[in-house]
Symmetry: C2
Subunit: 323 residues, 2 copies
DNA sequence: TTGTAGGCGTTATCAT
DNA sequence: ATGATAACGCCTACAA
């Protein structure tokens, strides 16, 4: 360190003045910081982490960041919380496929992150084993269903599906359909939805399934397909709000009244839901809290004081006008 | 390296077999890789970058990842391209404010990224100076307007605004308004829009401005406000497709026909634009290409073979039914 | 509170 | 094609 020379102290004192100022005198701290500013010193976390074995880097794997994915607000909140707590987030996109997953994990581990966050991701069994074996704290976000690898902050998609079914049934709907997506969490909502309808004595619902990421067009095509199978359906539960918006658009363009003739329910309570026409009844998840808690739990684990390992953040049905 | 022992070669040979296999014999390569697999060796990029001064890490600063930001597809494409080329992307959110920008930059630089990508970001003058002084390759994405710090791949928002004005004028519209946003690129589109209308001999347009990130509700409120100022407006150019969708919804709920009585034009050609009702006339940017080129140019610069420093990717007006 | 010694795991450099 | 040596810049451990 030339800062040390510039400030007239030893290397280690300069290091402490910058990384751990509480252990040096205020005068030393000032002297070193002034020297650092003078010579334009830039700290090197790379060198630091080599010896300390702490990179202050969190690897976060998401399916994709493009399009209005319903979990992105949680990732945003989490990233902000991590930055506030002194960590950086390295984002990797996994895609909805599983190819090269192991290879991807190896290169991520080679960066020596302090922890790993998996979002909306069902890692393959091999990948899960690999992550467990790494010994790193692993946080899974946005799901509740299975036995977690390590820590988990999420909610039950299956319960969300069940409550949606119960809600629509409670509104007097009896020919209830769903537009689902070929993606694990959507499948979990679908499973809960189907189970609850069965419990309520209804016959198996019509389901139209689309490939993620979900789009407005999926809702339009989905309703068209459902109506073709059964013109008398009176409610549709949608895998995302964007799909629900598409269902509403399609219904309106066919002269079907929402919610009069067709109740439409979304999922995600995205920022357009309340402003849709009619305002969208949907399922709300507190993504701010969810992301924040995920980050805080991870940092607690890194600091050696693990509190809860699994946190169910729940969800709420937001009743608006569409269902 | 214990891999070296396990394989019965020297440390440096093991290192080469893994990081630079072309310089060792195939037999050595195999021997080392087998040993690595056997003992569960995980490469350590941290140690490698300390000596080699190459981290294979790209820092990317974006305003925010939440909500369907119109530049996210470009970031996605860029991230994928970087990963394909052997780099990881560290994402930092800047927020739309400017607080702590310098501090943020320092911690990013402390990670020793090989390059920095700024997306949709007008860094402050101090930050721009700091980045320039760092000597790192800097890529600015999604804009064309000013003198770049270093490299740039984008398009002219000002030109987009001008062409939107010309397009609506060409469709016979004469009372043309805009819903804009208080954000630099939106402001650039607005400036071009206003300038072109003036050039065409129209009076200064009504403009309603909203705070980003833009939402559907902004479009609804925006049209309401515009109509209150002037009930006779016959066209609205919107700063994003989501806002345009809101304007359409609001128009329809007021019994205004789109495009008959009101032409609505968006920006971004997001994945719902073609499926809107009516399908949205908008401005398309080739985000896939844009992100890909940004990554490729950056990697070329890192490899010491800089080709172009500035690339104008242009845009196209996509004529659909709404305007 | 400050300092000394040494090493983290890899790669650059120079030799063989 | 492979090896020996040293160094990257910081932090841990221990000492003063």
């Amino acid at each position: 360190m030339d800062v040390a020379n510039a400030a007239g102290v030893s290397k280690i004192t300069a290091s402490r003045a910058i990384s751990n100022p509480s252990v040096v005198t205020e005068a030393t701290r000032r002297k070193v910081h002034e020297a650092a500013a003078r010579i334009g010193y830039v700290q090197n976390f790379v060198a630091g982490s080599l010896k300390s074995k702490r990179s202050r880097l969190i690897a976060c794997v998401v399916p994709t960041i493009a399009s209005a994915s319903v979990f992105l607000p949680a990732v945003r909140a989490m990233t902000q919380a991590f930055e506030r707590l002194g960590y950086h987030v390295m984002l990797s996109q996994r895609g909805y496929g599983l190819e090269q997953e192991s290879e991807q994990i190896e290169t991520v581990l080679a960066r020596r992150p302090d922890g790993i966050v998996l979002t909306g991701t069902f890692a393959s069994a091999a990948a899960r084993r690999r992550l467990k074996a790494s010994g790193l704290p692993v946080m899974e976000m946005w799901d509740m269903a299975r036995s977690p690898i390590d820590m988990l902050v999420g909610f039950s998609h299956e319960a969300a599906g069940r409550e949606a079914a119960a809600y629509l049934h409670g509104k007097g709907r009896r020919r209830i359909a769903m537009v689902s997506a070929t993606e694990p969490r959507s499948a979990a909502r679908e499973a809960g939805f189907v189970a609850e309808l069965q419990r309520l004595g209804l016959s198996a619902p019509l389901i139209h399934s689309v490939a993620p990421p979900t789009r407005l067009g999926h809702g339009r095509q989905g309703l068209a397909a459902l109506l073709q199978s059964d013109p008398r359906i009176d409610a549709v539960f949608c895998t995302t709000d964007m799909v629900a918006l598409g269902v509403i658009l399609e219904a309106q363009s066919r002269g079907l009244q929402v919610p009069g003739q067709l109740a439409v329910m979304g999922f995600g309570d995205m920022d357009f839901a309340a402003d849709a026409n009619p305002p969208l009844t949907t399922i709300h998840v507190d993504n701010e809290q969810l992301g924040e808690r995920a980050a805080v739990l991870m940092v607690e684990a890194l600091d050696g004081r693990r509190s809860k390992r699994v946190l169910d953040m729940g969800f709420q049905i937001v009743e608006r006008a569409s269902a």
